[in-house]
Point group: C3
Chain length 458, copies 3
Amino acid sequence: MTDTNMRLRLPVVCIVLEVILIILFGILVEYDSNTDAKKWHANTTIDMDNEFYYRYPSFQDVHVMIFIGFGFLMTFLQRYGFSSVGFNFLIAAFSLQWATIMQGVLHSIHHGSHGVKIHVGVLNMINADFCTGSVLISFGAVLGKTSPIQMLIMAIFEVTLFSVNEFILLEYLGAKDAGGSMTIHTFGAYFGLMVTRVLYRPNLSKSKERNSSVYHSDIFAMIGTIYLWMFWPSFNSAITAQGDDQHRTALNTYYSLAACTLATYGFSALVNHEGKLDMVHIQNAALAGGVAVGTAGEMMLTPFGSMIVGFLAGTISVLGYKYLSPILESKLKIQDTCGVHNLHGMPGVLGAIVGAITAAAASPSVYGLGIVDVFPDIKEDYTASYQASMQIASLAVTLAIALLGGLIVGFLLKLPICGAPPDTLCFEDSVYWEMPGEEEGHGELTTVKTPEETDKLN
Amino acid sequence: MTDTNMRLRLPVVCIVLEVILIILFGILVEYDSNTDAKKWHANTTIDMDNEFYYRYPSFQDVHVMIFIGFGFLMTFLQRYGFSSVGFNFLIAAFSLQWATIMQGVLHSIHHGSHGVKIHVGVLNMINADFCTGSVLISFGAVLGKTSPIQMLIMAIFEVTLFSVNEFILLEYLGAKDAGGSMTIHTFGAYFGLMVTRVLYRPNLSKSKERNSSVYHSDIFAMIGTIYLWMFWPSFNSAITAQGDDQHRTALNTYYSLAACTLATYGFSALVNHEGKLDMVHIQNAALAGGVAVGTAGEMMLTPFGSMIVGFLAGTISVLGYKYLSPILESKLKIQDTCGVHNLHGMPGVLGAIVGAITAAAASPSVYGLGIVDVFPDIKEDYTASYQASMQIASLAVTLAIALLGGLIVGFLLKLPICGAPPDTLCFEDSVYWEMPGEEEGHGELTTVKTPEETDKLN
Amino acid sequence: MTDTNMRLRLPVVCIVLEVILIILFGILVEYDSNTDAKKWHANTTIDMDNEFYYRYPSFQDVHVMIFIGFGFLMTFLQRYGFSSVGFNFLIAAFSLQWATIMQGVLHSIHHGSHGVKIHVGVLNMINADFCTGSVLISFGAVLGKTSPIQMLIMAIFEVTLFSVNEFILLEYLGAKDAGGSMTIHTFGAYFGLMVTRVLYRPNLSKSKERNSSVYHSDIFAMIGTIYLWMFWPSFNSAITAQGDDQHRTALNTYYSLAACTLATYGFSALVNHEGKLDMVHIQNAALAGGVAVGTAGEMMLTPFGSMIVGFLAGTISVLGYKYLSPILESKLKIQDTCGVHNLHGMPGVLGAIVGAITAAAASPSVYGLGIVDVFPDIKEDYTASYQASMQIASLAVTLAIALLGGLIVGFLLKLPICGAPPDTLCFEDSVYWEMPGEEEGHGELTTVKTPEETDKLN
């Protein structure tokens, strides 16, 4: 049985990582021309031209999705609410800093001429949050079975691999993926699934009574769901080109999600023998429509096309939860706590394919002069069908890096020093958190732990 | 006793409705000149002129009000949290699509010249959300006593009638109602009240132990309240003219709500024999100030005038909850679960009257050149007092369509195939939802239903 | 034992205050040139120039922090959730109106030429919310031990003193403090700490079983924490100069908070003998990074500098909770319910010092032409080091006014007519709120109070 005491390990990891980050920021990071007082005032006199006014509201919506959306979505577990929202908070706060460095360094090496310097503004904040989202998807796969140390180590490697994959897709393959169907969702899901496969626990059933929700925890989780759902139009449009592109992407995502929601409710009732709705489906599958238009949302997908994609995404997601997840667990030994395969994996792949098909149909007759914003590479010798093939190649690269990366990182996380919880104490906050007193239904209030609880944890 | 099993009915309704919507979108809906790549780039080179940057932050606030605000406000019921937030989600996701079609078709018939085509952008998204809000108000009146099928059928008809009423008011009568005191609140409330009157259940007291809140459910409901309260300035200003109009409307609403809140706390303590505050008042009446400046908020109401209106709205709302609601139930057989008459009905009518009075006082000496934004019709032969009479006529039309529509739709919803819950199982999630295990206060955790609970539901 | 019945007192106070506010608004408040239809249209034809589009999204984020952030952060107490979010709501709704008057009158006297008139727009809304934030910080210090009457009286005086202090700092001393490290956080914390010192209750331990959290209340509190954390970049940048200043401030705050969070987790585990994380630290100390860059955030602090400041803030905040708060309570008799000294007091002072140091380093070589936005006073005879000394003088003035003001107001609040709760009923909602029925863990549901509970409260 591993030692789960975090007394020295967590402080050392947190503080060392933060000190390293501060040093790297000190060496590498500078304000960009929109955030630097001198540079901005040397270039312009029109304040409204600042990128801030085009992006910051979208950034804040994305920020809510990362910290409230992901954090609360995972509070569905009855005894893991502190860890769900609290480790989400920790991992995200680390990842966004590390992603700033990794994404910035790769970008700087590629574009820079005067040595490696990272120039930061709101786009870096959005991209850092995006990368963080990918890590949180993987977190969903292993939720309840890992220590905060393991999660921080996973984040170190996953942010790195995410940035490499994103760089290959966007810079070398010329892929379009503004909402991250591939870079964020497919990558995060399959990386996390491979990690959880490597960390397979044959005796996880010892904690099975805690691997489920209770009434209030399901309502807390709905806070996460609804915020993710509402702000997904901002997520997909946050880094698209200004003007019609941001506008169109938000619109497409809005209708995709609405169609997805009706599919989710319909199929959730259909697959239940009493015709009852299942909160797991509502909390998760209703969001698949956002994932599935992550690539094509900025394209001329039409609202009609977006709704078809959303409808399909909701359908496969519900069916995945009902029929595929049990098979993945029993046959492939993939214990996917949040079902990220159904919410991010399959809908992400769907989104990649839809993106390729939509790209293949691109033409100046549809996009007019706007084609340079959506497909800057498409010119005489670089056709729409070539773009489509690059989109498919991007999906393949993403799956390869995610699966291979997850495999290696999974083995790293098996080191006993990481302090993973024993099989009997998975999905249990009290392993890593000082617990408050129990609530009582009958008026007496107590702040001490019951003896049984104290025993159980020692 | 009706059969509440949704196994086939809900999937059929959801999927058929969504397929119809997708077909209608395929035939009718196109991007507008702000979301279409070709049209946008043919017209402009200044990205910041895109309507997106004027409206999208407001849209997102409205979106939060619809999905979090309404959804969580209704979670106050102790055993109806899944349904409150979950059916709210379903109905809203359907209604916003259907509203896009209905509002768009009416607008297109009126303005279009080349056949019926609906051109969509962020204004359509806001207007669709607005129409959805009206349906959710009606949902509040019948909350706990209806099946999801009934709610979807109600939404089909209510969206249609809402769109017709809105069209008459805005296009034929030339009424101003940017925040929807009439079109959204008065309409939604009286429509819902008539539906709940028709669906009157003489034996509803069989479920009375569940028709109330518990401690945590009241705190969940406050999430809804506070979000509605905070974002109401965005709601009322979302579709007003750009510039000073949006700014002024947000400002008026801000001060109206603040004044309303003090009135609510004061009167809530006053009407309680121990001087204690009642959560029902705080959750609802404090919002009446937003409803009551829904029409006049964009006008030169002054902050001072807004505060008077807010103060009155909070006062009548608390008094309504305390004294009028019991009479409506006992004498008029109106079982209004959320008290929408007090939050949306009376304050909506107040808002309509305030709007007429404020319109009557309009003059170029107050509005300057800005009068064309607020009252585009007021010219030499179309006086401010004529505008005021049109505002009052609009209120009358709204009440007539709402009451008549609610009457007819109420009878439709009595069809046994709708699967309404029996009197003994109103306000109970387990009728339509797969329930998680019970929470325990003493450390043991269980995921199975207690036998009593299982019995009770069969 | 004082009488806690609010039947007449609360209505009188609320209604009289609101009537006075309405009269003052009627006499003093007018639309500004961005919200007045006539003035706006006389000046411009470009809608996007309206201040609304530069500030309103930031305002809404600040608004969420005030009403959801502060409100839910304080719901951590197990039996004080209604009061936490409900009194927060009441106090804030009052304070924002009163702050509009007080801040406006002082500004008008200073700048006005044609009599005292207050011209309002979105900047007034933000500043009013800021002042409200300061009152809510003080509320955190006395949480659970005061009546709503006391809180409203405190708000009347604190808003007044806040406005005077802010006026002295910004207008006379020429201090920069856009995010309010001094004006909001330091002022609110030390004012509240002095009030709670004067209101010291030697027998508060009679309520100690309620002065703690339970599992769900800690998760509710995390809603407040996460919203404060996410939107702090908007808070600090809401009133800075347009363009690069807003952008840079948001960026600095983003990285400061991320670094602060890692420090918080690290030190929280370090100071616990089992290495477990403490929710109190996570809920509070992780926010200190926002407080500590409240002054310097708009300056050229660099992301690297921001992270160092955030890291220090998180560290001193955790150590404060662990080691200093118990000493303050036992030695200095300061019963600081929420630990505002650790979240707002010390980090606020740190922020003031960082601001002075950063100002001292200002030069045109770093800021270019942008220096006039950040330091409009720095010219030939007004050096950066003079600016720095004014920053330090501002901290001293703030501490003096806060401590002296808190002392006087604390004694005022001891008047028996205020209806403070007895020592045995602190941290208890049922003193001032009509309570719902108890939740049961075993399927039976009841809406009546248990006899013991009824007895206890009478």
